[in-house]
Symmetry: C2
Subunit: 280 residues, 2 copies
């Protein structure tokens, strides 16, 4: 199958490596000539170009650009495509993307491969990045069955665990387990620094160990990504933040009232529910 990839970063580059290893002919497009060259050099694509028109021969195109430029990219891309081309994207928020792209191109299914590393860029591309990781597909009532079948087949070749759900459901779920933790964790770092006592801050910095390190990790990540999550998944994230604040307020109240039995119950609830989210 002729497969196009627009956006040659970690995800696009890794997709190319795996899809080529299954015998597909992969055509990559990047705005940067240097990414095209690297993608060729590491074997991520069969050909690469800075020009979207090379994708006219692709049967399926994966849009792997940053979230903010998926829709403008599709607007440009579709001027070169026959109506039979299947489009899919890998954006981490689905509802606004699916709504906007579906109105531009009928033959589209939203997707979100939930895999990554601490690195980014084409240089970080890896074989088998998606194996046993979740890959969410978000068809709607109007998504052509043929588009679902084609993309599902390719994702199966990647070895991912495929989940189908509505775009709204995806956005709510990732709000809880991915976007909320970023805000919770960023607030933790900021609150410690803002505590108002420099001696305490210095001591805290010296004493911080693995517990603080783990809890603060995602809050210390890329600020632009954090804003993107909040911008595109605003409603779901606000719901999660308010639910979270309610829980936090309960904990604060229990400690204020010295209701240690109920606090222990709440901590037991958290302890017993954590394994449901953790695979290994």
């Amino acid at each position: 199958m002729n497969i196009g990839i627009v956006g040659l970063g970690l995800i696009g580059g890794s997709l190319g490596l795996d899809l080529r290893s299954h015998g597909h002919y992969v055509i990559g497009v990047s705005r940067r000539a240097s990414s095209c060259q690297t993608a060729m050099a590491i074997g991520s694509v069969d050909e690469a170009s800075v020009d979207l028109s090379v994708l006219a021969i692709a049967e399926v195109v994966f849009i792997c650009t940053p979230l903010g430029i998926i829709v403008p990219t599709v607007e440009q891309l579709i001027t070169f495509l026959p109506a039979t081309t299947v489009l899919t994207d890998v954006g981490s928020v689905k509802l606004p993307i699916v709504q906007a792209v579906s109105s531009l191109w009928h033959n589209f299914i939203g997707g979100h491969p939930m895999a990554g590393t601490a690195e980014s860029g084409i240089e970080a591309a890896l074989r088998n990045l998606f194996v046993e990781n979740p890959y969410v597909l978000t068809p709607t009532l109007t998504t052509p069955k043929s588009a679902i079948t084609v993309v599902e087949g390719l994702v199966q070749q990647l070895g991912s665990n495929i989940y189908f759900c509505a775009p709204e459901q995806h956005d709510k779920a990732v709000s809880w387990i991915s976007h909320l933790p970023v805000m919770v964790s960023a607030s933790l770092i900021a609150a410690c620094v803002d505590n108002g006592d420099l001696e305490v801050l210095q001591l805290a910095q010296n004493l911080a160990s693995s517990g603080f390190k783990d809890t603060s990790r995602v809050g210390g990540g890329n600020p632009e990504l954090g804003v993107m999550m909040a911008k595109y998944n605003r409603d779901a994230l606000l719901d999660s933040l308010q639910g979270y604040r309610n829980n936090l307020n309960q904990i604060i109240d229990l400690i204020e009232c010295e209701n240690w039995d109920k606090l222990e119950e709440m901590l037991q609830f958290s302890q017993s529910n954590r394994p449901g989210f953790i695979k290994d």
Copy 2:
């Protein structure tokens, strides 16, 4: 030196291993005969007993019991000791312990070795557990210089990074970097489970990955320990929780007002400040 250790768990057992390797004669006391036997078997002590009176010959005694029984243990122990014996403890909260024990025994200095593993109990005892980890000592204006010197010397032999501070400062610092993260992280798990939509919960559980795993780790820990922190360090923890809630409220407001520039600034602040807490 003859050194007593009351409480043969991970910390007491590991202290014994290291202190014996520096040539000290280590006498262990546990309420459980089985812990005494294990401590002997793994070489953590030279002799062990369930009877505190064996510590009459110790020059220094480390109280390594759970936080809640440090004071009653000291009350019993001191009936067997000459006034020259130096006492120290390893409790994770210092002000209430230091206040109570100082009034019982003049020759006392509070301490807190900040080291551990996911395991607990004497079976988990390790050599070199304290090497390059913080060990906080919290003398007060009335702590005898000789007691400070003796305990500081032993802690140096453990290879720890020693920090001296007032008990209040210790408690504030650990509230920020250890006790607050537990509550923040426990609230995250509870809020996700309480979200009210079972389909979203199930999807969230399937999609949760390393970000959620790390942010939720300390919140899924031992509930009794969490309550103990809150109980003994209540005032400092409430301060931290309120400071944290203020920061969280700011983030919620910025997302509500779609003030993306200011949100990015806040996330940049967190990103740039995290390395100050992280050693490796």
